[in-house]
């Protein structure tokens, strides 16, 4: 019993210490952001690694998710004779929910894990300490550009995901199942609101980008500098990011659409 209480206490202390370190890390990261104004080339370089290299997985996933939505949506709507509302169903599902959420999950798996592994390896090979010895702050030179790149990339990737998804649903709905293309696009245009739907989706994707990139960078920076430590940190990035995305999605949806 005592041992159980002791391990519970140890776990609690470790968790709170990590939370504290994570928030201190966030503060230091934010303090490093103004320096990027004069060195935006560092951010552009990271935009390529974090954003551009994630485009392929987003395109393919978005296309298939849209095609599945098109098929499933048609099968449900056709029972009510409302198959021409397929465009609305697909666009609202993607723009409000699936676009930001699935993109963030894919982003955590593709870019988040890569960021953690990169920073963790830089730490274990003393590259970060080496920079400090050259009076170069790793927070400004390494961490801040990657964070800003993640923050910029996520909403753009989510927008690409939603656009490709809608196109995939149109391919299936119009090309395979015979839904009228005029009805598909016009109903979508009429029922999808710029502020209510699209802007809220963009806000969600920015929040997810913030959280996923923060978790990924912190896990790498806080990793035990061994191969096992970096491996565990990479796993933690994906798991914690997934929990954070799904939990925050509920909170944001409730705030945006739940009339709370």
């Amino acid at each position: 019993m005592i041992e159980l209480l002791r391990s519970l206490g140890r776990w609690g202390l470790n968790t709170f210490q990590r939370l504290g370190r994570g928030h201190m890390f966030l503060v230091q990261m934010m303090a490093g952001m103004p320096s990027l104004t004069f060195r935006f080339s560092l951010v552009i370089q990271q935009l390529f690694y974090v954003g551009v290299l994630s485009v392929l997985i987003i395109l393919i996933s978005g296309l298939f998710v849209g095609m599945v939505l098109g098929l499933q949506g048609y099968n449900t709507l056709v029972d009510f004779g409302a198959e021409e509302s397929l465009g609305v169903l697909v666009s609202l599902s993607l723009v409000r929910e699936l676009g930001p959420v699935v993109t963030a999950l894919l982003f955590a798996g593709r870019a988040g894990s890569a960021l953690t592994a990169e920073i963790g390896l830089m730490k274990s090979t003393e590259q970060l300490s080496g920079m400090e010895m050259m009076a170069v702050d790793p927070m400004k030179r390494i961490i801040a550009p990657r964070f800003l790149a993640g923050l910029i990339s996520m909403p753009l990737l989510a927008a690409i995901f939603s656009a490709v998804g809608i196109f995939g649903a149109f391919l299936i709905g119009h090309g395979l199942l015979g839904v009228d293309d005029g009805a598909f696009w016009s109903q979508m245009q009429a029922k999808t609101d710029w502020y209510e739907d699209i802007l809220n989706g963009v806000i969600k994707s920015i929040v997810f980008g913030f959280v996923v990139t923060w978790i990924a960078l912190f896990e790498g920076y806080d990793a035990t500098p061994t191969s096992e430590g970096v491996g565990r940190a990479t796993t933690r990035t994906v798991v914690h990011s997934a929990f954070a995305i799904l939990g925050l999605d509920f909170v944001l949806t409730a705030l945006m659409f739940g009339d709370i």
Binding site: T125, E126, Q127, S129, G130, M133, M134, A135, V136
Partner: protein, 186 residues
């Protein structure tokens, strides 16, 4: 102040030239032509001018440490700290590094602090040696003074003796007692 890490700590995503140029780009606003000249001078000093386009992953351990040395002296520091610079080097690299450290020290008028377990190599080039154990200075002096020291600890360390003030066996239970204690599982 410059520092040479045991691993070299080169940035793995940029080549040798950019690694040496890194401190200059971060701390100065020198024109590109001047940066090029300075980097080539430092690389020439460590004998790796023609390896400037190689990536850190393509370098041997000794070459990586020489590049790191070039990077450490790029900003002409007053002092350099070396963390185990001779560990894991083949005899040629070891000899090269030993000479380089002393030559750079004299040519640039540096103060060099070397942390090392390689007694023979360090005594070749050191002006003064401090022997540390358990966070305390056990003995200090010139290499000649230490070689003639009467301290058992110094003798054990300099001659690499397996037993002495630093025991071979990790302290704990007596061996005979351990053998007779059959009830204990391990």
């Amino acid at each position: 102040m410059g520092m040479l890490f045991q691993s070299g700590a080169l940035l793995t995503d940029i080549n040798v030239f950019e690694n040496v140029a890194f401190p200059l780009r971060e701390h100065t606003k020198f024109p590109e032509s001047m940066i090029r000249d300075l980097v080539l001078m430092k690389l020439q000093a460590v004998g790796l001018r023609n390896a400037r386009d190689m990536m850190p992953a393509e370098l041997s351990g000794g070459m990586a440490r020489r590049v790191a040395l070039a990077r450490a002296v790029t900003l002409d520091p007053m002092m350099i700290m070396y963390d185990e610079p001779f560990t894991g080097q083949d005899p040629i690299s070891m000899g090269t590094l030993v000479n380089l450290i002393r030559r750079l020290n004299d040519a640039m008028g540096l103060t060099s602090i070397i942390v090392s377990h390689d007694v023979a190599e360090t005594t070749q080039i050191a002006d003064e040696i401090y022997l540390l154990s358990g966070g305390k200075v056990i003995e200090k002096g010139t290499p000649e003074t230490l070689k003639t020291s009467g301290s058992e600890w110094v003798k054990q360390f300099l001659q690499g003796l397996p037993d002495g003030p630093v025991p071979f066996h990790y302290p704990g239970n007596d061996f005979s007692k351990d053998l007779l204690n059959a009830e204990e599982k391990r």
